[in-house]
């Protein structure tokens, strides 16, 4: 398999958030600080890669009629494991990500990749796909959370850049998430159309 092509797809042309518009809920909710963005991104990369590997391994065993149920059980298993491990060894991160770790179970990116890629491709390709799509998701989280944290609270990854009093608290609120994500999607569509690789 072509690692470079898959990486480019995950980060740009088939970016899960900006092009496939999957996983919007968690992207909007947790991107109030870069630390949250990295934590969530890493959790999704790990879960997505593991679930892709196992669903690819099981793709010939799982009957078509019960595939969605089987995928969800596999994904929920990995999510719960990551959740337990985070709570045990990274309590602060687990506290700030809160309910969004368990909610990775219903994050459309994971089920979407299981259904559209891992169930049709080999183990290695699926693992690479998991990493690349996960990286694409993480990249978007990082950009959105960096913009929101800087403009909203004057910090980057917890380091004060300018006093919080001058920040626009609106950027930390949900509305800020919609604004940044909307602008980013528009920018992405514009860039893809310009290079003639996206859209129609």
């Amino acid at each position: 398999m072509n690692f470079g092509k898959q990486l480019k797809e995950g980060l740009l042309t088939q970016n899960p958030v900006l092009v496939q518009l999957l996983g919007m809920c968690s992207t909007l909710a947790i991107t109030t600080s870069i630390t949250n963005g990295i934590g969530m991104g890493v959790a999704v990369i790990v879960i997505l890669t593991l679930s892709n590997i196992f669903i690819s391994l099981l793709r010939k065993i799982i009957p078509n009629q019960v595939r969605i149920a089987a995928y969800i059980v596999v994904i929920a298993g990995f999510v719960t494991m990551v959740d337990l491990l985070l709570q045990a060894y990274f309590q602060d991160l687990a506290a700030s990500l809160g309910v969004f770790i368990p909610l990775i179970v219903v994050n459309c990116i994971i089920l979407g990749r299981a259904e559209s890629f891992a169930s049709k491709n080999g183990v290695l390709a699926s693992a690479v796909d998991g990493i690349c799509q996960g990286l694409g998701y993480t990249a978007v989280l990082l950009i959105v959370s960096a913009v929101r944290e800087l403009l909203g609270s004057g910090k980057l990854a917890g380091i004060t850049i300018f006093p919080a009093e001058y920040g626009a608290s609106m950027m930390i609120l949900p509305v800020g998430g919609f604004l940044v994500l909307g602008a980013l999607i528009a920018l992405m569509q514009w860039a893809l159309n310009k290079t003639g690789k996206g859209g129609k």
Partner: protein
């Protein structure tokens, strides 16, 4: 696909195949459940210990004591209550309450002196208040410290009004009222002990 086709397809499913469907799903669930059991068996104690340590540290912060004894009889609106014991005598109570803030429950510990009935400390252990707004109340020890020394001698504590007054944070009135309600509940709970 039309309805007719669906029925035709359904009829073709043999009992054997149905068993295979159920069997595969059961097998996957079984393996996942086993793995989760293994993970839980070693993370469970770590999580429990960390939470116990966190609670103990918060208790020491609101009302330092040698020992905390959980109480069985809980007044209304109180999640848990501990007697703080120092040198063999009950010096006060640590009351856990969860009033509503602006985004959800604010779980907090309130230390109350047994003799004077005054607040010795307030610590918020869990909340989902708005960053940069509600957090100016719940994450700021200097704001929470304003409760120290207050009591129910002058009636319920009110926010930005009355004589028994708590000065809230402007812009975060709902969160300020939330923590105040929690302190009031805690003081009332200790008051019922007589």
């Amino acid at each position: 696909m039309s309805n007719e086709n669906m029925t035709a397809e359904k009829l073709q499913i043999e009992p054997k195949y149905i068993l295979r469907l159920a069997g595969t799903l059961f097998g996957i669930c079984l393996v996942v459940a086993l793995l989760l059991g293994v993970v839980n068996s070693f993370t469970g104690p770590v999580i429990e210990q960390a939470q116990a340590e966190k609670t103990a540290a918060a208790m020491q912060q609101v009302l330092p004591a040698d020992e905390y004894r959980p109480m069985d009889q809980l007044p209304d609106g109180v999640l848990s209550m501990n007697e703080a014991v120092s040198g063999g005598a009950v010096t006060g109570y640590v009351v856990e309450v969860a009033p509503s803030g602006s985004q959800g429950k604010i779980t907090m510990l309130v230390g109350v002196d047994a003799e004077t009935g005054t607040v010795t400390g307030v610590s918020v252990t869990d909340h989902s208040e708005t960053p940069n707004i509600g957090t100016k109340v719940v994450d700021d020890p200097s704001v929470l410290a304003r409760f120290v020394g207050m009591s129910h001698d002058g009636g319920d504590i009110t926010v930005n009004a009355g004589t028994n007054r708590f000065d809230g944070v402007s812009g975060a009135t709902v969160s300020s009222k939330g923590v105040t309600a929690g302190v009031n509940t805690a003081l009332a709970a200790v008051g019922t002990l007589g």
